[in-house]
Symmetry: C2
Subunit: 332 residues, 2 copies
């Protein structure tokens, strides 16, 4: 910047004014500065500026996802990137891998880079370790799961309601012998989905005490084995609800292995690519990651811009998509 100022024959502050589009520079001076910038191939150092900038803005935010390689996370990331990029804010992204240690390490790394805000899917049981940052008023938005131990904005899917819709759908198609295949119960969303499902079934007058509830299925293979066992049991269910993508995949495999895929109904939580191309098409409760991303970005920007309303949780509704597997009726 010094060099630009020297070459243009002006003061350094004038160069700063031109670059940041501040008022109070004559058109002639502006041109001189612009020419010098072009000639030197100069580019503003955003990070150095942040040292002195009002509020120390770095124009960067941190995004913590389950994994950047997971399509659900990818959609959220994408929506966020677009909203923030329009404001000149760059996004640091990182994967948590369901590891609370990693969660803290990554947060520390991002805070060390003085991000203007944090958007995260919490893993740790408790986010109380973020209290110092929270009271420093660091903008933060929690995604998918509500924070524990700090009071902050959150954007979540209506997990219980969505799972309830799945139950209602299966009941409506005449099923009474249902089963629930779920993810690890230390994950809040998994618990919510189970609760919503069971409440809906119970509310319909069907006793849930005998209903098979299999938790802690965290990968495809575990889900497949659990589904096989279930389907080979003495009194197998006529309809299955799977609470998550990998569980759905495992269940699909089990159903196909047993040749039961056209006989046993299946509704999965979470949509996935090619669900409509399966045989039968897979009925799902679809989440809307792009809407979650958009909403989160909106809240984060509002907080960055000084919004100090009490924190709220925003709910993005899920949607039942019928594709065949959920409309199979029980045998007569």
């Amino acid at each position: 910047m010094r060099h630009v100022a020297a070459l243009a024959g002006v003061g350094i502050k004038t160069v700063s004014r031109v670059i940041n589009d501040e008022a109070g520079v004559s058109e002639a001076t502006r041109q001189k500065v612009l020419d010098a910038i072009a000639q030197l191939n100069y580019q503003l150092d955003v990070t150095a500026g942040s040292l002195r900038r009002a509020g120390r803005r770095t124009l960067s935010v941190g995004l913590l996802l389950p994994s950047v390689s997971n399509p659900f996370s990818g959609e959220i990331h994408r929506a966020m990137e677009d909203a923030l990029g329009a404001r000149g804010i760059a996004v640091f992204a990182a994967s948590l891998d369901d590891d609370p240690k990693r969660e803290q390490a990554i947060i520390a790394a991002f805070l060390g880079r003085r991000v203007d805000g944090l958007v995260l899917t919490p893993i740790a049981k408790n986010q109380a370790y973020m209290i110092p940052e929270h009271s420093r008023n660091l903008p933060m938005v929690f995604i998918d799961r509500e924070p524990v131990g700090v009071d902050a904005d959150a954007v979540v899917t209506d997990n219980a309601v969505g799972a309830g819709k799945a139950a209602a759908h299966l009941l409506m198609h005449g099923h009474t012998k249902l089963a629930y295949l779920g993810d690890r119960t230390d994950i809040q969303t998994a618990r919510e989905r189970r609760r919503g499902f069971l409440e809906e079934v119970g509310g319909a007058g069907i006793p849930t005490s005998a209903l098979p509830v299999i938790d802690d299925l965290h990968d495809e293979e575990a889900a497949r084995r659990a589904a096989l066992e279930l389907l080979n049991s003495e009194d197998p269910p006529t309809a299955i609800f799977s609470s998550q993508n990998l569980v759905t995949f495992g269940t699909m495999r089990a159903l196909k292995e047993l040749g039961a895929h056209k006989r046993v109904a299946l509704v999965g939580f979470d949509d996935f690519t090619l669900a409509d191309m399966m045989d039968p098409g897979v009925t799902v409760i679809a989440q809307h990651p792009e809407r979650i991303g958009v909403k989160s970005a909106e809240r984060l920007l509002a907080r960055i811009d000084g919004d100090d309303q009490p924190p709220r949780t925003y709910v993005v509704p899920s949607e039942l998509i019928q594709r065949g597997s959920g409309e199979i009726r029980p045998p007569a």
Copy 2:
């Protein structure tokens, strides 16, 4: 840091030494400093440090992908994150959307944040606009496509070889009436795949002049329509090669609509989730995005560490995965 030094009753440089694990601090002093840090909840400002650090390292790099929401990109991103994170380097990620303007804007945004390196999937026909940075010796690695106009490391899939393997596989299964469905020809990888496919077919003595080659299929629906038209033509192919995921999906839809999915062979470039669950399973030429990510990170780190060997292109081999659709034989 000043505050920490004051509280611990030491000089500011001593605090710096402790934090950066430099030698020359007595254990007693170290403890005093550590206590003060804990008490004040102090955290090092990495960006401020970069201003003075040798080589001005910011400990951040920029990653430019087709889209962070695309699973192939996600895998690359993930591998990169892990390799770089182990070195304390954070990753800015952004999506290019096949838009050369966006490519330049994002690069500018990242350079303005003084990233230590850049990993990118080039879109623009020419990366000559990066010459200033390149000659400034900014570490950069190109992914998936080789750069044009600057000489830099690249990590790519063996597109032509992989497509050739697909052709050979179909020929081996007795097909002589093949067809090629491809992506936009302004994309280097698409051209390579077409070339590899046609060369292999031609090399087997089958005239390629009559072989249907349909380019510029950039989405699923375009691919579906092209495949329908092809299959409804007077002399339809008995085997199809699709050069990319979305093209494969569109082709699968067309085959299914016509009830031809068990009769016409299909090999697609790029693996995808649930490919084995389709009916029949879809034979693919799989790329290895995680290996591409690992290699790119390795090269980037080497360049950051001062490696100044002449730039090279690293090839990550693709792999044929047989699942059924590619092993269908032509009608007798």
